[in-house]
Structure formats: structure tokens, C-alpha cells
């Protein structure tokens, strides 16, 4: 047992494998937040007037709000005036026309991360809109997607090239008044991804973005907007790793999904930002607002997430099931180790008739990790025949960790059928003994059991992500028995 413990400590205490900082000239604005700053961001990005107006309205609303304190997460107070709200790689000024023009340092960073930008792009079959700090640097497969009428570009580009679409849909799912962090994001968002799939088009490839935080003291405020028009289909992948650093970094992203009649959006995330060191110092604060709106009948939105990074993860990817027969899904694996805290879950708002939702949440806590599932299933009076099934399971590894479940169920229609199940357990000694007696090494057994525990979620991930996800869990959890 002693060797197991030391092995566990060795494995869990492993340094962050993606910890490196790329030295780049960054075009950062001074720290602090005020109206002038927002005007500066907007003008640097050459935005139309409506965008600036929207940002300012959000900012003025933000001033009236206070930081929420209801969750179980704990962190020192955040100094919002101590954050630099804009940073772009300076090489952007030269306007890279092709990959050859891109800062080689940047390309090397992507290579370390395995972003398929060059020859790998064809092999991987993935179009990448890479976000380096706050500005999109390169977009691939654009022509191929363009032929189908699919718009897939950076948010800034969308604001310039397709202002009518942005104007119509921005803030229509997450209004700028939504919550403290979403409002802050609305005021200062730097960049992000924009995607529009025209009616009846099935996007032929998985769309993917790598988010990466690099410059020091730069809050990241991504904004993603995905619109699937009638009968369209898109699968979107978001993944991230980050370099090692000491200061906490605030990340308050907003993702809005709009699914019109008969369309389908699949959104998958693998989140592996820097979780902080063994004492819980450093690490990313990941306060994200993600929400999808099934605006038409028969629309479907599916969220899949694997959350292994960040010091604090605080996000609730939700679905508003507005159209009749709309379907919402949420599949989640959240892992917390050391002093990581995760407060995550979903909201399924049933408004349309015969709407269905499925929630599958798997939480794994190790070390001093805190893991909470917080969810809401709401069935409105209009949602005749609504159906929900929720399952949230927690796995505890170590006697200092914690797992919580806060499921809210509000039902106002008698034809609704809502089921919620939750369980908490640890890896049984009998299970380990069973494996060991068959010649399976303890760490392989733990890895096997954990992977089995998460299997139902992993199978919802696209293949390449599933592999990455399993690897991520493996790194933190091999041999974690004590």
C-alpha cells in the first residue's frame, strides 16, 4: 500500500505536461476596465457602431451587478481592474496571408500542442480556427466550407463581414444582462469563433478550435456563436491546454448555440487548462456561460464535456427546448484533483411539447478536489409530454475530496415524466482485488474502472477527442488508490 501511495503521489504530483510559455511580442492594452477601454477594444477591432453600443450597454449593466456568491467554490477576490482586457499577437499587424507568414514561434507552439495546421490538416480532417490569446491567427478549410455556404471564421471577422447575422443572433440566447460573468464578457469579449450553417446543409467535417491562454495577466473573454439554420447539422469541437504560470487567470467565455427547425448541433469540449500547482496555487478560473436554444421544432442540441483542468470550473451548458419535439443532451465528465474545484451541470428548460432531455454526469474527485453537480430540469406548463432522464454519479478517490449533487426539479405539467438518479461510491477493494487476482496491475485496474465509469460519456465524443480524454484521465488517475 505504501508503494501505491507514493506512486499515486508521483503520478498525481506530475508537472503539468503542457506547461510552457511562448515568448511573443503582444499588443496588450494597459490593465483596468472603464468605458474608454471598451471604446479602445472596439476601435482596435474596427467594429461597427452597433457592436460598440452593445458592449457599452453591457458594461453599464455590469457596473450594477455584483459577483455571485451562491456556489460552493472558493477563491480569493478577483481584481477586475488588475486585468488586461485585450491582447493580440503583434505579428497580426503584418496580416499573415498564409501559414508561411505566421510567426514561426506561434507555429511551434501549435506543433507542441498538436494542432493540425500544416500538412497534418488533411490527415486529421479537421478545420481549425485557432485562437491564440485573443485573436484568430489562421483559419483552414475555409474554401471548402465556403462552397457549401458555411461561414466559419473568427468572431471579429464575422462582425465585419456578416454584421447582419451577428446583429440578429448575438445575445439572443445569453443576453448581456444574463449574469455577472456573461455581462463582463459581453462588454470586453476579445474574439472567438462564429459559425453559420445554411439551411439543409450537413457540415462535412468536425469543426474545431483550440483555445489557448498565453500572455501573462490577460483575461480571456471568448465569444462563440453557432447558428444551425433549418435542417442543418454541425459538430463542433473545442479543446484547450495552457502553459504553466503563477497568477490566476480569469476566463469568462460565452457560447451561444441556436438550432432552428430540424437542425442539430453537437458541441464537444475537452478542457485541460492549467489547474494550479499541488497547493492549489495558480490555475485558471473558468467561469463560462454556455447555452443553446432549440428555437425550432425537432431541433437537437447536445453538449459533451470532459473537464479535467482549471483551478475552478464553473459552467452549466444548458438547453432551452423551445420547439416541439426538441431534444437536449448533456454528457459530462468532470475530474478534480489537488485543490481543484468544479461546479458544473446543466439546465434543461422544457417549453415545447414532447421535448426530451438526457443528462449524464460523471464526477471524479481525488486529492482535495471538490466536485459538484448542479442542475435544473424545468418543465413549463406548455411542455406536454416532456421527458427527462438524469443520472449523476460520483467517484471518490481519497478521503480529503468532496462530491456534491444539487439537482433542481421543477415540474408544472402533469404529463411530464422526470427521473433523477444519483449515486456516490469509491473504487471498491473487492473490485481491485478481482482485477489484481487476474494479473492486472493496480494502476491499470483503476484506469480501467475509471474509464468504465466514464464510458457512457466518452462514447458521445468524436473519436479523436475520446482518445485525448482517456489520456487526460489516465495522466491524473493511474494508480490513485491509497
Amino acid at each position: 500500500m505504501l508503494t501505491e501511495t507514493s506512486k499515486l503521489e508521483e503520478l498525481i504530483g506530475r508537472d503539468y505536461p503542457h506547461g510552457f510559455v511562448t515568448a511573443l511580442d503582444t499588443d496588450s492594452v494597459p490593465v483596468g476596465l472603464n468605458e474608454a477601454m471598451i471604446r479602445l477594444i472596439s476601435s482596435k477591432k474596427e467594429e461597427p457602431a452597433f457592436m460598440l453600443e452593445w458592449r457599452l450597454e453591457a458594461y453599464r449593466h455590469w457596473l450594477t451587478m455584483s459577483e455571485p456568491g451562491w456556489s460552493t467554490v472558493h477563491h480569493p477576490p478577483i481584481d477586475y481592474q488588475g486585468i488586461s482586457y485585450y491582447s493580440a499577437p503583434s505579428s497580426r499587424k503584418d496580416g499573415p496571408q498564409s501559414l508561411a507568414d505566421v510567426d514561426p514561434e506561434l507555429l511551434r507552439t501549435y506543433e507542441k500542442l498538436g494542432v493540425p495546421l500544416q500538412e497534418r490538416e488533411m490527415l486529421a480532417g479537421v478545420a481549425v480556427d485557432a485562437v491564440f490569446d485573443s485573436i484568430s491567427v489562421a483559419t483552414t478549410f475555409k474554401d471548402k466550407l465556403g462552397e457549401l455556404g458555411i461561414i466559419f471564421c473568427s468572431f471579429s471577422e464575422a462582425v465585419r463581414e456578416h454584421p447582419e447575422l451577428v446583429r440578429q443572433y448575438l445575445g439572443s440566447v445569453v443576453p448581456y444582462t444574463d449574469n455577472f460573468f456573461a455581462t463582463l464578457n459581453s462588454a470586453v469579449f476579445s474574439d472567438g469563433s462564429f459559425c453559420y450553417i445554411p439551411p439543409g446543409v450537413r457540415c462535412p467535417m468536425e469543426l474545431s478550435t483550440y483555445f489557448r491562454i498565453n500572455a501573462r495577466n490577460t483575461g480571456q473573454f471568448e465569444r462563440t456563436l453557432i447558428i444551425a439554420d433549418r435542417g442543418a447539422y454541425v459538430s463542433y469541437l473545442e479543446g484547450c491546454t495552457a502553459p504553466m504560470r503563477d497568477e490566476n487567470q480569469l476566463h469568462a467565455a460565452v457560447v451561444e448555440l441556436i438550432a432552428l427547425e430540424g437542425s442539430q448541433i453537437k458541441y464537444a469540449t475537452v478542457q485541460n487548462w492549467y489547474p494550479g500547482d499541488k497547493e492549489g496555487k495558480g490555475g485558471i478560473y473558468n467561469f463560462v456561460t454556455k447555452r443553446g436554444d432549440c428555437r425550432g421544432d425537432n431541433a437537437k442540441i447536445s453538449w459533451t464535456q470532459v473537464e479535467t483542468g482549471s483551478a475552478i470550473t464553473w459552467k452549466y451548458p444548458s438547453v432551452i427546448l423551445r420547439g416541439d419535439n426538441a431534444v437536449g443532451e448533456f454528457y459530462s465528465v468532470a475530474l478534480t484533483n489537488h485543490y481543484q474545484q468544479a461546479d458544473t451541470g446543466t439546465k434543461m428548460i422544457h417549453l415545447g411539447k414532447n421535448t426530451r432531455s438526457t443528462i449524464l454526469s460523471k464526477g471524479i474527485s481525488a486529492g482535495h478536489g471538490q466536485n459538484a453537480y448542479r442542475g435544473l430540469v424545468q418543465v413549463a406548463k406548455s411542455a406536454v409530454g416532456a421527458r427527462n432522464y438524469t443520472q449523476c454519479d460520483s467517484l471518490l478517490l481519497g478521503d480529503r475530496c468532496a462530491a456534491h449533487t444539487f439537482p433542481y426539479i421543477v415540474v408544472k405539467n402533469r404529463t411530464a415524466q422526470v427521473e433523477h438518479e444519483a449515486s456516490t461510491s469509491r473504487i471498491g477493494e473487492d473490485q481491485l482485488f478481482y482485477c489484481q487476482s487476474r494479473g492486472i496491475a493496480p494502476e491499470d485496474a483503476v484506469s480501467m474502472i475509471v474509464n468504465g465509469f466514464c464510458k457512457d460519456v466518452f462514447k458521445e465524443l468524436p473519436m479523436e477527442f475520446a482518445v485525448e480524454a482517456q489520456k487526460l484521465l489516465g495522466v491524473s488517475l493511474e494508480g490513485s488508490i491509497g
Binding site: 478521503d399 475530496c401 439537482p407 415540474v411 405539467n413 411530464a416 415524466q417 438518479e421 444519483a422 456516490t424
Partner: protein, 438 residues
């Protein structure tokens, strides 16, 4: 807030000298500090997480006055109708003990069964520590008001090893509208003792009044207490109640709560498994109709290792009624080998009914087995089909299945006359022709 604070401050000034135990300085101090605590907190608001689904502005606005002792207002016939055979019975009218209607009978040696007022006269030291405990923190303004205006209640103490075979029936009758009663029951069971308690709240007439009661139970080592709570208040009444149980080593505590009456009812049941190998069972049934609102908040604290808890709550909602269930289970650090299971099932019978349920787990230990489940739904069409294919009409089939759904909780009651009484209540809700089928 200030308006209601002023009202209760004035009430207190008016009644201070005649409140029970006014001759005891320590009690007076506690009442005053509780009143100060209420002045600071006021009534709970829906902005508070624990009161999110239950608004109490109607209570705040009603300005209920403290009930004064009266001895008429109820007839012998009525009391007899509510009585259970073969029990030790204490009757309270508008919150005050009524020796005239009570029948304590012969108790085994080592049992003290009395009223709080009597204890304050006879042996106030016994109450000193018991009433001090909840002074530390009032979970809501209601608990503070209860302490400030505490009028009467039952006092039960079981000496070590004593078993009371007959159930102890605490019958609370409300006969007057516009009044508030703040009753406090203090029950304690010594090591290895055993008793079964029925706390029943009923009403004469259909008045609007407030019952604000607290029942504190201490279950000693190896002791066993079963507490039944029957809430059958008038359909205009407000019922706010708390049951707090402190469990000793290897002790067993069972709580059965039936929420049947009242316009607005809120019951908080808190069980602390405060020593090793304590066990608790929490059963509940709420049946609401019309515009009734019934809220159950339960909290089980697994504070020490090897504790077991089982919770089973069911609800049947008709009309435009609303039910709230919030079941919190907390497994504290070092409470290893805890085993907790919780289930809440709801049946919605009408288009206007609403249920808000939240089973909640907070776990800080790793070697535990915890699970919970919650469902909201309607009757199973296959079961209806089964009955219909055997010649039962649709309405009767639904009624039968609803009865069976609720009966599952009633069936667990182990006092036969009480179980029969509850079944009769359930049957009373069935259409005539369905009764013939049974």
C-alpha cells in the same frame, strides 16, 4: 420588515410578564435574545435558497396574535374522534395543555410525561440546557419567534432502559382563527429506552391561524424513537414546524411525516447522526389539493462513521396545489462507511399542480455509499390498461392506482389504529364506486 418587527416587539412587550416561565431570568434573557435575532433576520424571503419555493408574506401580513389560554372551543365528542385507543394522550388546545381532555394513564417508572408549563413550574433546571441549545443559531425567523413566544408543549423524558409500549399521543387542536401558537416539544430518550410518539395537528372549523412548532428530540445510546407527525390543519391555516433529532451511538430514529392539511405548510426535519452506528429512517407522504402548498425540507447529517439513513418521500398533487421537497444529505469528513439512500416520488394529477423537488448530496468522505433518486410523473398507462382490461372503468382505475401509490407510505406505520385511520383518510378521497372495489 420593520413593520413586522415592530408588531412582534410590541407583542412581546405586551405579553412579557405573562408568558410561561416569566419568573425565570435565564428564560427571559433567552426570549429577549431570540426576539433580537428575529428583529435582525425578519421572516425568511424567497431570495433565501432554503425558502426559494415557499413565500411567507401572507403570514407576515396576517399579524397573528399570541393565543391566550382557553379551555372551551372543543367538545368531548371531537376529542374522542381524534383519539387513538390505548395511548398516553396529551391534548393541547391552541397550543396550551388541557389536563381536562388528556388521559396520560399509567406510565412505566422512570418516565416523565408532562407539559412545558408544568416543567417550568416544577423543575425548570431540566429545561435550561434543552432550551439553550437552539439559541445558538436560529435557522429561520420562525425558530426565533418560537423561542421568544414559546407558550407550551409536551415534555417527555425516558430514563435509561425504559420501554413505553403504548404510543404517546400529542394532540394539538386549533379552535380559534387569527391566532398564533408557538409550541415546543422536548423529548429525550435515555440509553436503551424506547417509545413511539404521535404528534397530530388538527383543527375545529376552517379558520386561518398560525402553528409555529418545534419538536426537539434527543435519542440516547441504543435508544429507539419513532416520531409520527400528522399535519391535518384547517385549509386556511399556516403550519410551520421543525423536528430536530440528535442521535446517539447505535440509536435508531424514525420520522414519519404526513402533510395533509393547511393552506401553507412548511416542515423542516433535521437529523444529526452524531455518534457511531446511528440509524435513521425518514418517511413522508404529502397529499395536496386546491391551492394548498406543502413544503418538506429534510436534512440528515452523517457526522460520525457507520451511520445509516433511509429516506422515502412520496407526494400526490391535485388541483392547483404545489409541493416542495428538498432532501439534503451531508456526509461529513471522517464519517466513513456512511450509507445513505433517499427517494422522492411525485404523482401529478392535475394540469395546474406543480412540484419542485431537490434531492441533494454533499459528501466529504470517500468510503461511503450514497444514492438518491427523484421522479415526477403520472400514472403508468400500462397499469391503467391492465385494470381496464379487467373491467374497471378509467376513473376507478386511476383512483385505485393513486391510492396504492400513497398506501406504500401509510403501510409503513406500525401503530395499527393510526395506520387504519390514515387508510380511512386515503379512502375518503376515493370516489364511492371505487370503495366498493376494495
Amino acid at each position: 420588515m420593520t413593520a413586522s418587527t415592530d408588531f412582534y416587539n410590541a407583542e412581546f412587550a405586551r405579553l412579557k410578564a405573562i408568558l410561561p416561565g416569566s419568573h425565570l431570568p435565564w428564560l427571559q434573557r433567552r426570549r429577549e435574545s431570540a426576539l433580537a435575532s428575529f428583529a435582525a433576520s425578519g421572516f425568511p424571503t424567497q431570495r433565501q435558497e432554503d425558502w426559494k419555493y415557499t413565500g411567507v408574506t401572507a403570514i407576515e401580513k396576517s399579524r397573528f396574535e399570541l393565543a391566550m389560554p382557553i379551555s372551551n372551543g372543543v367538545s368531548a365528542k371531537q376529542v374522542a374522534a381524534w383519539s387513538l385507543p390505548d395511548t398516553h394522550r396529551l391534548v393541547f388546545l391552541n397550543g396550551r395543555y388541557q389536563p381536562r381532555w388528556s388521559s396520560v394513564g399509567t406510565l412505566p417508572g422512570g418516565v416523565i410525561l408532562s407539559s412545558i408549563i408544568e416543567m417550568l413550574e416544577r423543575d425548570p433546571e431540566q429545561l435550561d440546557s434543552r432550551l439553550g441549545e437552539s439559541e445558538i443559531a436560529y435557522p429561520s425567523g420562525f425558530a426565533a419567534l418560537n423561542m421568544a413566544f414559546m407558550s407550551d408543549g409536551a415534555y417527555l423524558h425516558l430514563a435509561d432502559g425504559v420501554a413505553v409500549d403504548k404510543p404517546i399521543h400529542l394532540l394539538f387542536i386549533a379552535s380559534e382563527a387569527k391566532l398564533a401558537t408557538h409550541s415546543r416539544n422536548l423529548l429525550s430518550a435515555g440509553a436503551g429506552s424506547r417509545a413511539s410518539i404521535v404528534e397530530q395537528h388538527v383543527a375545529v372549523g376552517e379558520g386561518a391561524y398560525l402553528t409555529n412548532g418545534i419538536t426537539d428530540i434527543v435519542v440516547g445510546r441504543d435508544a429507539e424513537i419513532v416520531h409520527h407527525k400528522l399535519q391535518q390543519e384547517s385549509h386556511q391555516a399556516f403550519h410551520i414546524a421543525a423536528v430536530n433529532a440528535d442521535l446517539g451511538q447505535k440509536s435508531r430514529f424514525t420520522s414519519r411525516s404526513f402533510g395533509l392539511g393547511g393552506a401553507l405548510a412548511r416542515v423542516d426535519i433535521r437529523v444529526g447522526l452524531n455518534a457511531e452506528r446511528a440509524e435513521c429512517i425518514l418517511d413522508g407522504l404529502y397529499m395536496t389539493d386546491g391551492r394548498q402548498h406543502c413544503d418538506h425540507h429534510t436534512r440528515i447529517d452523517h457526522a460520525e462513521p457507520y451511520g445509516t439513513s433511509r429516506e422515502f418521500y412520496k407526494g400526490v398533487l391535485a388541483g392547483a396545489s404545489r409541493a416542495v421537497f428538498n432532501g439534503k444529505v451531508i456526509v461529513h469528513a471522517d464519517a466513513q462507511h456512511s450509507d445513505a439512500d433517499q427517494s422522492n416520488r411525485n404523482l401529478l394529477l392535475s394540469d395546474n399542480a406543480e412540484v419542485d423537488t431537490k434531492p441533494q448530496l454533499e459528501i466529504y468522505a470517500d468510503d461511503v455509499k450514497c444514492s438518491h433518486g427523484a421522479t415526477v410523473g403520472q400514472l403508468d398507462p400500462e397499469q391503467i390498461f391492465y385494470l381496464r382490461s379487467r373491467g374497471v372503468d378509467d376513473e376507478s382505475a386511476r383512483a385505485l392506482l393513486t391510492f396504492a401509490f400513497a398506501e406504500e407510505v401509510v403501510d409503513r406505520v406500525d401503530i395499527p389504529p393510526l395506520r387504519a385511520g390514515l387508510e380511512k383518510l386515503l379512502l375518503g378521497r376515493l370516489p364511492e364506486r371505487v370503495k366498493e372495489l376494495l
